[in-house]
Amino acid sequence: MTDGHPPVGDFATDFDHTDPAWVADPYPIWDDLRQRCPVAHSDRYGGAWLPVTHDLVSEVAYDTEHFTSRTVVVSERRPGPDALPAPIGLSPPITSDPPYHGVIRRMLLPAFAPKPIAALEPFTRDLCRDLLAATEGRTSFDAAVEYTRHIPVQVIVRFLGFPLEDADLFRGFISLVLEQVDRPSDERDQMFTELDEYMDAQIADHIAHPRDDLTSFLIDAEIDGSKLPHEHIRGSMVLLMIAGIDTTWSAIGASLWHLAQHPGDRRRLAAEPGLMDTAVEELLRAYAPVTMARLVAKDFDFHGYPFKEGDWLLLPFPAANRDPAAFTDPGQVRLDRARNRHAAFGLGRHRCLGSNLARMELRVALEEWLARYPDFELSDPSAVTWSAGQVRGPRTLPVTIL
């Protein structure tokens, strides 16, 4: 949350993605900026830009000459050109630039292709059923706390091969990286050290006791005949843990939040299972959780805006998905939307590595929820709380079963 930052006056000239107004409902802000700017600026975080149209978001995503992915989470620490080990970055491949990016990404892609992901579906379905069974007999509970947040964390823990009981620890790390971005950088450094130490212990345990999971996969992986450096393995594990948990938790929660408030949609989806594929894509479009970031790689003029090397740039794929120039009636959720080129998983070479995993989890989580609770509503809409920062989803979601 925003302990340290003053409230935003005008988002066009002073935006802050941790501001309570943005956290509560960013869509009107982006709609307004799309009319007025369409690239907002802020002096916060050492200087940051925010394009809000689909065209401009796409342009940045495809431009690896003027923008670097060396770091993708905007915080008070603005790294200089030598502060991070480019071109690999701290958490490859999300923080890597070409050409190295392609090499490390190709190494990982087979583990995330549809076929290996499908193998995780039975585990995910059983998990969802068990979580729902634990709510048996109650007419109201917090769906974020008791259902959505447990699903991706346990799937990723299984995927990486960590002890299941460490799930709570992971949620603490994730909050640190993604939400507590306005804390002083020395406090963040200390917490990152603890995260690195946890990963070091897991890597050591996997070296001593190899098993069939992603951690052992990374330890065994070779590029051009060489094993990956320790820091590379650790960075990728941090990435997979963080990127795989908060994001999908948010997408499942936002989808339930929508269905809780739209009886027609939830009844139709419960009655027409064949609608699930387009519904999942539409919910991903409308409530895309992830805003990425780039650093400007060199001084240049971006459509009249004086971009300087080292400036932050927030890359709001959720805003691109709400651009009326790219989508008909973008504010309307249409579960049968047939034409849907949404950018929820990004665009270009950094397309979310885990998109097949996220889709599977979202689909299974909704199928199992609707099978047990086809009719439900928000207990108290004002009690719903949303995460702050670059990943948006409900963290408190009290529902009443009808």
Partner: protein, 94 residues
């Protein structure tokens, strides 16, 4: 009676593995080990799958899929194959 025969093609330089085309139309696309898509065979779209082919184009976030009219000779050669798949029409979801 003839109708335009269509050919679908995935630009491998643009495909980033979103997997939308394969999800919409598994009969027209196939995925490699990395999850990257390409058209099945020569990309000629059987008559019953034209709707699926258009949906694949319209759902690719990277604009990597093209749909063009195939040359007449190719169309003639594949017409018979298209005739054998009337059941595919039922799989068109919308």
């Amino acid at each position: 009676m003839t109708h335009a025969t269509l050919r679908v093609h995935v630009d491998p330089d643009k495909c980033q593995g979103h997997n939308r085309c394969y999800s919409v139309s598994p009969d027209l696309f196939e995925l490699d080990e990395l999850g990257m898509s390409s058209e099945v065979g020569d990309g000629i779209v059987p008559a019953g799958l034209a709707t699926q082919a258009r949906l694949a184009v319209d759902n690719c976030p990277e604009h990597a899929i093209s749909l063009t009219e195939a040359a007449a000779t190719e169309a003639a050669a594949t017409e018979a194959a298209a005739e054998t798949e009337p059941a595919a029409e039922a799989e068109v979801r919308r």
